[in-house]
């Protein structure tokens, strides 16, 4: 019965002073839209950056003529060393097939297979790849690398390329993280201010309610319910617009741009749910919290 009363109060406030609520609704709607677009972009960007980083590998070339037993021993040693995620064996024949694809004529001329057996080691943390190299083949005092494992001929990680990848991707990740933070801060500040204005315009009303003996929660509930309604409307509207945008713009282009089709972006239904919950929570809690200062009569 009480809930019904509070609900009616909220609706009365909405219909009688629509302008401030409309402003709050619009602000939340726009913020939700921007976030809804930005979250997948951030995810796709960091996802792509991570993918690029995963291309950082260490090649371990074996001495020619290594026996099967030696190969297995080396594999075991590599797998047990720290920060190693994956070890792939590439046999002489596989290596040749791969290289031949790249430069057919050269290998045709060569006749024999000069390539050694090798392992491709994928690190768990690409940032620490150099440590792996140092462990497998520490530098001697003259600066030349000397492999620790007997059957290993050489350890290489295409140093220049690796450094470039690591630098670029960490820059991209840092910038997107900074932008995301900034955007969230902006959203919170914007919504907080709009809600504050909307409640400020009704502070006299709150004062009168206090003076006729209303408890704080008696005054607060209708405001919070109003917040829920406004948040719900804004959220649903934002999701609707995002759905339309996704169906008309993003989906047709997804085949052409790798970024749009990046595999580990958030699912749309989950994103929609997240936005809706955020809208409602921010709007309701924002109203409730802002009201606090006006309740001190």
């Amino acid at each position: 019965m009480r809930l019904g009363f509070f609900f009616k109060e909220a609706l009365r406030a909405l219909s009688r002073s629509a302008a401030p609520s409309l402003a709050a609704l619009l602000t939340i709607l726009l913020t939700a839209l921007v976030l809804g677009i930005f979250i997948p972009i951030v995810q796709a960007t960091t996802g792509t950056a991570n993918e690029v980083r995963n291309r950082v590998v260490v090649d371990v070339f074996l001495k020619s003529g290594a026996t099967k037993q030696e190969i297995e021993d080396t594999r075991g040693a590599l797998l047990t060393s720290p920060n190693v995620e994956k070890v792939d064996f590439i046999s002489k024949a596989q290596a040749l097939a791969k290289e031949r694809k790249r430069n057919k004529e050269a290998y045709e001329l060569l006749g024999t297979n000069p390539l050694p057996d090798s392992f491709r080691v994928t690190p768990e943390d690409p940032g620490e790849v150099n440590a792996i190299v140092d462990r497998l083949a520490p530098r001697n005092p003259e600066g030349a690398r000397k492999p620790t494992l007997a059957s290993v001929d050489e350890v290489r990680n295409r140093e220049e390329e690796t450094d470039k990848i690591l630098n670029a991707t960490s820059l991209v990740k840092g910038v997107t993280a900074g932008l995301a933070l900034l955007l969230v801060l902006c959203s919170v500040a914007l919504i907080a201010n709009t809600i504050r204005l909307s409640i400020y315009s009704r502070r006299r009303e709150v004062e009168v309610m206090k003076l006729v003996g209303a408890t704080n929660w008696f005054i607060r509930w209708p405001f919070m319910i109003e917040g829920v309604i406004v948040g719900l409307f804004a959220g649903v509207l934002a999701i609707l617009l995002l759905t339309i945008a996704k169906a008309t713009v993003v989906d047709p282009l997804a085949d052409r741009f790798a970024l749009l089709a990046a595999p580990d972006t958030i699912d749309f239904p989950l994103l929609a749910l997240l936005l809706l919950v955020c809208c409602v929570l921010v709007s309701a809690l924002g109203s409730g919290l802002t009201l606090r200062r006006f309740l001190k009569v």
Partner: protein, 272 residues
């Protein structure tokens, strides 16, 4: 207007000071506002059940401070304020709403809720105390008929005249029959004719046994009503008189002296 027959009316000549616990008691109360302005200085006053008291004095003398202290809208700096024996300074904040439900308040600026009709404004005071819908539907039209607004139930406050708005505010203050009614300049914004109507209404409420405190600078009203008058000046009680006048026994020449004195023209001729 329908008679206010909800309570047996006590005799008009009640002896309030002797009737048990006073409804309002100021015990050596001082109020200093942040910034150093003194609102009240060592005020001690007792108001008994069923009394009708005028608080008079020039603007800034502490009338409104008294009212706001009684609402616990302000906290006293020193001293004790008791309402029906309950000490306000000791009252926890969560009990303030209950206190206010037992005090009707009427303001100079009416303080109606602009988004609600006359009916809803009065009903709000009952909704606050959790009254059920049936009794709200019964009580609100009754009280609005009493204040003479039965035809304006569904108007919004901005569609009413000042006098009508004040009547709504009185209806709201009295709808749950509080034992104490505080009025802060109830006629301050109204013309003399309308003021009389409002005062009549307040007086009738008093006749039902409700203690009434009216802060006012409406000289004419005070002089005609001849009730207890408490005069404040610069935060101090300078007069507390039964059946008093706004300003006692001042002849035209005395007034002239005072006028010149306050204008800074004549000799130091201040009667107070």
């Amino acid at each position: 207007m329908a008679p206010l027959a909800t309570r047996p009316a006590p005799s008009e000549q009640a002896q309030p000071r002797s009737s048990g616990v006073p409804v309002v008691e100021f015990d050596d109360v001082s109020k200093v506002y942040p910034g150093g302005h003194v609102g009240l200085e060592r005020v001690s006053v007792k108001i008994g059940r069923g009394e009708f008291v005028f608080l008079v004095g020039p603007t800034g003398c502490g009338k409104s401070t008294c009212i706001r202290l009684l609402m616990k809208e302000l906290e006293a700096t020193a001293g004790d304020i008791l309402i029906s024996g309950h000490s306000l300074p000791e009252m926890p904040r969560r009990k303030v709403p209950r206190l206010r439900r037992n005090i009707g308040v009427v303001f100079q600026d009416y303080k109606l809720l602009p988004n609600r009709t006359v009916y809803a404004n009065v009903a709000y005071a009952l909704e606050v105390i959790g009254e059920n819908r049936q009794s709200i539907r019964r009580k609100v039209p009754d009280i609005l008929r009493l204040v003479g607004l039965s035809t304006k139930l569904h108007n919004y406050p901005d569609e009413l005249s000042g006098g009508e708005q004040q009547r709504v505010s009185i209806a709201r203050a009295f709808v749950n029959h509080p034992p104490l009614l505080l009025c802060d300049e109830p006629t301050g914004n109204l013309d003399p004719e309308t003021s009389i109507g409002i005062m009549q209404l307040i007086y009738r409420i008093n006749r039902t046994g409700t203690t009434v405190v009216v802060a006012t600078h409406d000289k004419e009203m005070v002089d005609k009503m001849r009730r207890r008058v408490i005069e404040l000046r610069e935060g101090r009680v300078i007069r507390d008189q039964q059946s008093g006048l706004y300003r006692p026994d001042e002849s035209t020449s005395e007034f002239a002296v005072r006028l010149r004195g306050e204008l800074g023209i004549g000799v130091e001729g201040h009667p107070n």
